[in-house]
């Protein structure tokens, strides 16, 4: 056998790395499927399944939002419109199916939601994607406001203040699945979340998905390599509307009720927050963001009336300190991981984390006490905080929490640069001889 030419060797190597990449990619999806199947058997608390259902819906919604923001560079303030419309349409169709007007088993309902989202995204996208940047953002805000107020006016369709209720148990059963338990719904959501995520991931690797990145980076140049920036944005917008509608359909199945709130500005704001917190630059970002956001939302709201404030602080902290989001922070550690130096970071990170926790305890304590002073019913001055009960009329808890906050912050000022130094050290490329 003769020695192959260098070019052939390189082509073979590229082929090999491409195959390894494909294998790793499929591996990730198979692992995700396995985890999703196993989770309900591991987490056996009664709240776990409803929270995971909510997470699954949020993941699909956030991923669809990132098709606009992260991949297409379109900042939308009205993405919940497509989620909500998809959900309302799915709820109406489910009611029709329940009355036997048409045959549609529940597992296919998210497709109906997706179709609804797609149709309306095509309608509103036809004029909102003509421009990028501020103009796009303003139009999305206008459409969001328009639909939120229409929801209260067109009450035949949107059900006014009460919204539209539906009943998934009345629809025809498919293969004996009647969706009377949360667990059935969990598997339905898990299936669609995985399928939708896989399709969105695939979309980012299609020609138009790649051109969405190119148009985001430089719309002018994209036009000079043959692509209309407007069409590229329009196609992304429709795809994002489709998957938002799928999430809306899942919402209709899970909660069996949709209200105007689901397509309002605060719902649009939430999806922006969770996507940003997770990290817009990575496919995994919105998934992390949706999981973290939903977890905090459902856990914190059990403990405090101020959970929105804490989410707001988390968002501000993300924008200010880690604009690349959680996924961005994780990815920053790839070099250290490859150099097998992650272990060295454990100490400095633990110390900084601990001090951060001290600051958080101090600040949360103060905020909660202020909350009691400002808005508790008259006469109630005691508040259960962390592991103790404090009385806001006494001085010591104020002093104690303030001390914790200040001392923690001072400590952090010293520990944070240490952690940063350790990070730089660990990320240095390995010296090759």
């Amino acid at each position: 056998m003769s020695t192959p030419a260098p070019a052939t060797v390189r082509a073979l190597e590229l082929e090999k790395t491409a195959r390894a990449q494909r294998l790793r990619r499929y591996g990730v999806w198979i692992a995700a499927a396995a985890i999703l199947v196993g989770l309900p058997h591991v987490l056996r608390t009664p709240v776990a399944i409803p929270v995971m259902n909510q997470m699954g819906i949020a993941v699909v919604f956030a991923l669809s939002y990132n098709m606009l923001l992260g991949q297409g560079g379109m900042l939308s303030f009205g993405h919940a419109v497509y989620f909500g419309l998809g959900g309302f349409i799915a709820a109406h169709v489910l009611n029709l199916a329940g009355r036997g007007v048409l045959y549609l088993p529940v597992p296919l309902l998210p497709l109906v939601g997706g179709l609804g989202g797609l149709v309306f995204a095509a309608l509103f996208g036809s004029f909102s994607t003509t421009r990028a940047g501020t103009v796009f953002a303003m139009i999305s805000l206008g459409v969001g406001e328009l639909m939120a107020s229409s929801a209260l006016i067109l009450d035949k369709f949107f059900g006014g203040e009460e919204g539209i209720t539906t009943n998934r148990a009345k629809a025809p059963a498919l293969l004996g699945l009647d969706f009377t338990t949360d667990r059935h719904v969990y598997y339905l959501i898990a299936f669609w979340a995985l399928a939708a995520a896989a399709m969105m991931s695939a979309f980012s690797r299609t020609p138009v998905g790649r051109m969405a990145n190119a148009v985001r980076d430089n719309p002018e140049r994209a036009e000079f390599v043959g692509y209309s920036q407007r069409w590229v944005r329009f196609v992304s917008f429709c795809a994002a509307g489709l998957f938002a509608g799928v999430a809306g359909g899942l919402f209709a199945v899970n909660y069996e009720i949709l209200t105007a709130e689901n397509m309002g500005l605060s719902a649009s704001g939430s999806v922006l927050l969770m996507t940003y917190i997770g990290g817009v630059g990575y496919f995994i970002g919105p998934i992390l963001g949706a999981v973290i956001f939903t977890f905090l939302q459902s856990m914190l709201s059990d403990y405090t009336g101020m959970w929105l404030l804490y989410l707001g602080i988390l968002f501000l902290a993300t924008v200010l300190f880690v604009p690349a989001g959680f996924a961005g922070v994780l990815m920053l550690h790839a070099p250290a991981w490859r150099a097998r130096r992650l272990g060295r970071l454990l100490g400095p990170y633990l110390l900084a984390g601990l001090l951060g926790l001290v600051v958080a305890v101090g600040v949360v304590g103060l905020l909660e006490m202020i909350h009691v002073v400002v808005s508790a019913p008259t006469g109630r001055t005691a508040k259960r905080l962390f592991w103790m009960t404090v009385d806001v009329r006494t001085l010591w808890p104020w002093l104690a929490f303030a001390t914790l906050a200040v001392a923690g912050a001072v400590g952090l000022r010293w520990a944070a640069p240490q952690a940063a130094k350790a990070f730089t050290e660990a990320s240095r490329p390995v010296e090759t001889r």
Binding site: T206, P207, V208, R210, N213, D217, N218, V225
Partner: protein, 251 residues
């Protein structure tokens, strides 16, 4: 033979300021031509008119005999005309490879497809790799374009222009800001990648102009005052007066 580019009585004014007036020019297919002229003569404006970035105020522009007046840049690009920019104009967050692959997608027929995966598009990948090789950027394959060195960005600028395989290529000051050796490399690159194609370039470096061009058009204050072979341009008294000042020794 039909000219690759033909401008007929083209006018362009910004507000009340005329930049180009009554300009007619025919670029013969398969030639390398240089467009020279003093600063502010309207060279870049002319490029922007031909490529559809700006609409003309009056006149017609034809590409390979076809009227392209008033078409959008992407429509003109799809008819086989591609350009580079004087100020580097890349996809900064995409890798070198992605920059080239995106530039080759349309001409390979992928359009707005969401039913192909780019990784499976062998023809596009091979095209991007060939161009990357020609640019000497293979080692920088995964680097985001925004963090390349200036010379590398200028090379990629040309790469994006040619990756789609257009047969009419417009280069706007391809060697600006480059050292002597970098310029020599780029001239070689241009010669290689435009073989058999029509090239029009704006260039200030006279040695590059006289080295590459088959013909030279001289633009002064919105008008072509001469369009001829390099030897004749060098000898042209009007050109010397308007632009070259004293005859140059290069070439």
């Amino acid at each position: 033979m039909t000219p690759a580019i033909e401008l007929v009585d083209v006018h362009k004014a910004f507000g009340r300021t005329p930049i180009i007036w009554g300009l007619s020019l025919a670029i013969e297919a398969g030639t390398r031509q240089a467009l020279i002229g003093p600063n502010g003569a309207g060279k870049s404006t002319l490029f922007n008119l031909i490529t559809g970035k700006y609409p003309v105020s009056r006149g017609r522009i034809r590409l390979k005999g076809e009227d392209i007046t008033g078409l959008r840049p992407y429509a003109i690009n799809r008819r086989g005309l591609s350009r580079s920019f004087q100020v580097t104009n890349l996809f900064p967050r995409l890798s070198v490879f992605e920059n080239l692959r995106c530039s080759a997608l349309w001409s390979r027929g992928y359009g707005y497809s969401f039913w192909h995966l780019v990784d499976n598009a062998r023809d596009v990948r091979e095209r991007a790799e060939t161009v990357m090789e020609q640019l000497n950027l293979t080692a920088r394959r995964h680097v985001p374009a925004g963090v390349l060195s200036y010379a590398e960005q200028r090379a990629l600028e040309i790469g994006i222009t040619i990756a789609g395989g257009a047969d009419v290529i417009l280069l706007d000051e391809p060697t600006s800001g480059m050292s002597r050796s970098e310029t020599e490399h780029v001239v070689q690159l241009i010669r290689q990648v435009t073989a058999g194609k029509t090239l029009v370039m704006v260039e200030h470096d006279m040695s590059v102009v006289f080295d590459l061009a088959d013909r030279i058009a001289v633009l002064v204050y919105g008008k072509i005052i001469a369009h001829d072979t390099p030897e004749r341009i060098r000898a042209n008294a009007a050109v010397q007066e308007a632009y070259l000042g004293v005859p140059q020794g290069a070439g």
